[in-house]
Symmetry: C2
Subunit: 713 residues, 2 copies
């Protein structure tokens, strides 16, 4: 009798295990449930304060060549644990980051095939991360993913801020629509790019930001994307279920894996306060700790560059217009006729160096310095650049010496034209060249279709490449700012020499027809969650015909908005992108760019609503200075903030750079005001931001004498 | 009146130019005619001693994205010139090679597109070479070849020795058939390979050997294949016209070119004496002169290797059978259970080194020394080898020291498993590792399907890679012997560190079911024209079940044939492929392998008929020694040779290693005889070779005393 009871109890326990496992976040507000369906299909769901975030959603894989990993599973073991640790990033928005989660490891056995699969869940106060793990085993070695089938079942027809799913570009404006409207809006959302491949009219990219009718903010993304295909989300817009859609290789396969291995983390960040999404460090926390033993050479930089004049068409990257095509090592550039528009010449670069030195910039980027730009894209050209040979008018050593004498660092530029084999072949010599001439950082670029042909910017082959270039750069103590590469997924925690990425629609599009005025109020909710963006803010002249009469593009932003970006768009690498002469026309406004920090001890998100506004206060690293930034969406709005983030009892001087009342991103973008106030932790501010506008505040501690003539806010 | 006449004359000249240009070989026996058809299509034809070799055949290209380069041409200029120069190869069959040809450069203009195309013909006494040249011009920069349309119109239904056209392998037995029979024989001709892609049932590979009913020998091939897709030939078997069929990339495109550039040379070697085909150096002559300033480090080698025991299945490349898959850097090989069959272990390798030292071999190759062989092919695995990490039982430094103390060089092995990106990433460190440990040469391998996926072994992408690996090896003073790479096209003239290639069906197939007994009588007419082959001869034990009871394969060759191969299969890199213990069973026959040279001052082809027999005499470099080799086809035959290649008035001792009368490749392969004679330049020899048999003769100068007891031949 006793024995029978014990047996029954055991069975109950076992069935309990098989039916549902519950995991709570440390604060109890998030609850994840895991279970197996009757057919052995893994299913999870997620609630936040008892509201459904993810309805029961299936997990698994379709495999090529062998039985799928979708059903027929039983639970062989589960394990719960708690983790709580604080780590210090090399650079970042915060001095310290707390990594605190409860974990559930579910060991699954697919009996029919004797294959083991682990699903690991980590539940933080700000969201859920889960990944697949394929342990070493006798019945699973090499396998090919036909598709990952991770579902994210939405609880309603949420509002989403999305860009079209694409294997090759993220450089789209965001569309705000109901999930049910994605299909009908897709065609409009897909705008032209030099390399693009859409796949579904309900396919969108991550990070995907959503808002529910009940005021929940939900973000879907991934973390630690290493040697795996980039995840997109494809929506079943009848059931409102997103499913993972990996970027295929040339054969349509979605990943070649070798056990033991793991997938990236799939992340669901959730809160009823939009500011929590911006403050979330979950994506970083799901990455491995730093892999660089001594990261002391990794240093945030504020920089200018010989760049915007080419982007606007005022100058050219190429040196000559004489040739239909050029061949490195064969074309005689010394004998070629210069086109007279080549910006990367020694004399002109020295002017930039002078400007950088005078105004305290750390670095100068120069694009178009190396031979090959005459036919650099659109030709599927293999040997397009060698990354070490300058044009005849660019004297590397002289420039380097000059910069060094002025205390300025030169920033290297490696456009690869997506000829990735060629780049990898030259990587060592290119990095050695940088070391030799003292370049601490490189901006790399992947414009155009990928070589090897048939591969995509976001397929496993390329994800593997970007990581290879990054890790090799670390060997050479080089910082990387990769453009057109895959969007970051928190990898900078492990390799903090990844100080920037583009991987979204940056300022350059303001010269290619313009971006939506509220674009910059969405990016912090999406693109920036995985890592900093080299957005290249700081444009003061919005009418680009003033730079190049043939460019009729307008920058859809006010000048004050451009200043706000230095705080709202967190990055350890910040450019002042406009031409020196445009800054000299507005020296008082330019002062903010000179003053603003690029590394922080603390960040406080004061106001946030995706598509509408973001206001953030940040405390400069190792300083008592604070900086506040606001960017505003399509409609005028008054920000109401209080300064209780300041140390109590201290007095500060706040310099507010704001839109003038008449400002408007299109009609009157350069109308700004600068006002100074005395502030303390009890101060409050109501500040108007124009459509496409914003403001920036620098706050410096002051003794009372300095501040006594200033009006108190 | 006078003016009119002059005008008429000029017109005649012009028309003459437009109608036909004639080019003669230096000796006048070959005549090439070039003309434009009425529609401006370039056409050429070739005769040898007034017999048609190539009937009028069209030249040109189909291009992707733009108008073809097939017709609409006019001749803008032609230029004739003569070239006569002698050069000394670093290694080879001859001490000096004469490069003597008459050249016709035809400058064509396609008026409709304003594009210029040059066709350059070089007519030697042994054949014709022509190539396309795309000069720098304003109307042609980057272009994509859809297909090269070079025709080779045959004058009859010749007998051909062919292997199936294939984008990934040349490892086929030759089929002898009429051209008209290729179609019906194709299916049988295509045998299994680990990576293979056929494309047409009348598609064959070059070098293609043919014989006409009138006794002309015609060989079609290419020279100087650099950064261009490998050419196959597709037969229109109604008209008997071969047309070039390039190896496509993943998209089906056949080449991405940037003007100025040139195509490889298309070659037609022709003679009424089969021996002239073997002696032809035209393929080398069409390549550029040596690009290595000081080639003194390039040295021919005779070597043994830890190889045949794995090929036969007696031993294994991999160290352990414990894992379904391994991951470099993660799998703990130190802790793994050895499978007990791993041949590349320190102790065993030392035995090979001892054997090499004792018998005067220059080098020892060891395969399977580095981690990764557990799952090395068939999985499309990217990071399959790192080329520098040995298995726990292989002590690189100890082996290197031991070899050095014995005066033996170790030969490196780099199997890439066709994961080409991975190889390129590791190339510098792998070559540096070789330099560090004193390895002078590397055998590289490309087994299995290519990564990047969708590319083929012979597409432009890969041709570019093999050249990259070769040129980088030269930077490190490393000699390369590339297996499964594209067949050579004389590139070793320019980069003589390419001391070997496989790129054909080598001895290994004798362990995989066997090759045709007459295979080695065809290879000198085909595969060897472009460069030496690491055929790995010297198998003494033909019954492979003696090595591995599970291997029922038989080597289709007599032992004497194996000896003959050291002379007939010219290579500066010659292996003695069998196990040391098998050589010790036949020390008298083994003596020939020990004695035979690997570099030559002179070669005299005594007898030759493709598919039937090859007999050649070669004079050792810097020595008075001669060696003669004969390989025989399917039927017994008596070779009748005279020794007039010897210096007049000198006496020599000839040691003849021949088939015993009872020998037969299948029934009695190890029956051989060794006889010594006194010979001089008047000596003659009638020597029987068995089916699949052959003989080898070493001839050493002797004073009359030494030779006096020997019978005179």
């Amino acid at each position: 009798m006793k024995k029978t009871l014990l047996f029954t109890l055991l069975c109950l326990v076992f069935i309990q295990v098989a039916i549902a496992q519950t995991l709570e976040s440390p604060n109890g507000e998030l609850v994840m449930q895991f279970s197996l369906q009757e057919d052995g299909t893994p299913v999870y769901s997620l609630t936040y304060k008892d509201q459904a975030v993810i309805k029961p959603s299936k997990l698994g894989f379709d495999l090529r060549d062998e039985k799928d990993l979708l059903s027929g599973f039983s639970i062989s073991e589960t394990e719960e644990s708690t983790f709580d640790q604080t780590w210090e990033p090399v650079w970042g928005e915060e001095k310290e980051i707390r990594n605190h989660y409860n974990e559930l490891e579910v060991n699954l056995l697919q009996e029919e095939t004797d294959r083991n699969l682990i699903i690991r869940f980590r539940l933080f106060n700000d969201g859920l991360g889960f990944r697949y793990e394929f342990p070493q085993q006798g019945s699973l070695g090499h396998f090919v993913i036909k598709e990952e089938r991770s579902q994210f079942a939405m609880a309603g027809d949420h509002t989403a801020f999305w860009i079209p799913g694409d294997y090759d570009t993220q450089e789209y404006d965001y569309t705000e629509s109901k999930l049910s409207e994605i299909r009908e809006t897709m065609e409009t959302a897909i705008t032209a790019n030099l390399s693009q491949t859409s796949f579904s009219n309900t396919g969108v990219q991550t990070s995907l930001m959503m808002k529910t009718e009940d005021g929940l903010y939900i973000n879907l993304h991934e973390a630690a994307l290493i040697d795996y295909a980039t995840m997109h989300l494809n929506l079943d817009d009848e059931k409102m279920i997103f499913e993972s859609w990996l970027t295929p290789d040339v054969n349509g396969d979605k990943g070649y894996l070798v056990a033991p291995t793991v997938s990236p983390w799939r992340t669901i960040i959730v809160s009823d306060d939009a500011r929590d999404i911006l403050a979330s460090k979950m994506t970083y926390n799901l990455n491995e700790p730093i892999a660089i033993e001594d990261p002391s050479w990794i240093k945030p930089m504020k920089y200018i560059g010989v760049w915007w004049e080419m982007i606007t068409g005022k100058s050219s990257w190429n040196y000559t217009d004489e040739f239909k095509a050029v061949k490195l090592g064969e074309t005689d550039f010394e004998a070629a006729e210069p086109n007279g528009k080549h910006a990367a010449n020694t004399e002109h670069v020295k002017e930039y160096i002078d400007f950088a030195a005078e105004h305290g910039f750390d670095g100068v980027l120069v694009e178009g310095w190396n031979i090959g730009w005459e036919d650099w894209f659109g030709h599927s050209k293999d040997y397009v650049f060698d990354f070490v040979t300058p044009y005849p008018d660019f004297d590397v050593a002289e420039i380097q010496n000059y910069a060094e004498s002025k205390g300025v660092k030169m920033i290297m530029h490696h456009e690869t034209s997506s000829s990735v084999r060629n780049y990898e072949r030259h990587l060592d010599t290119a990095y050695q060249f940088m070391n030799k001439y003292g370049y601490p950082a490189v901006k790399s670029g992947y414009v155009g279709d990928i070589l090897p042909r048939g591969e995509n910017h976001y397929s496993q082959w390329l994800v593997n490449h970007y990581q290879y270039a990054l890790e090799k750069a670390a060997d050479y103590k080089i910082m990387v700012n990769a453009h057109e590469a895959v969007r970051p997924t928190g990898i900078a925690r492990t390799y903090p020499n990844l100080i920037g990425n583009e991987s979204a629609r940056g300022t350059e599009y303001q010269s290619f027809g313009g971006s939506k005025p509220n674009h910059v109020t969405v990016l912090p909710f999406t693109r920036l969650l995985g890592g900093p963006m080299d957005y290249t803010p700081g444009i003061f002249e919005m009418d680009l015909s003033k730079l190049n009469p043939e460019n009729d593009s307008k920058v859809n932003s006010t000048l004050a908005n451009q200043l706000g970006l230095y705080v709202t768009m967190y990055s350890p690498l910040q450019m002042a992108a406009d031409l020196p002469e445009n800054y000299m026309r507005f020296p008082d406004a330019f002062q903010f760019i000179k003053d603003v920090a690029v590394d922080w001890d603390k960040s406080v998100y004061l106001e946030a609503e995706p598509g509408d506004y973001v206001t953030v206060a940040r405390k400069e690293k190792g300083s008592t200075n604070w900086f506040v930034g606001n960017v505003n969406g399509n409609d005028a709005r008054t920000a109401r903030i209080n300064f209780d983030f300041l140390d109590k009892g201290k007095t500060y001087i706040a310099t507010i750079y704001s839109d003038a009342p008449s400002a408007h991103y299109r009609m009157n973008p350069q109308a700004y005001e600068i006002k100074k106030y005395r502030v303390d932790s009890r101060s409050k501010l109501s500040q108007l931001s124009a459509p496409g506008g914003g403001f920036a505040i620098s706050i410096k501690e002051a003794d009372k004498t300095d501040a006594k003539d200033l009006k108190k806010l």
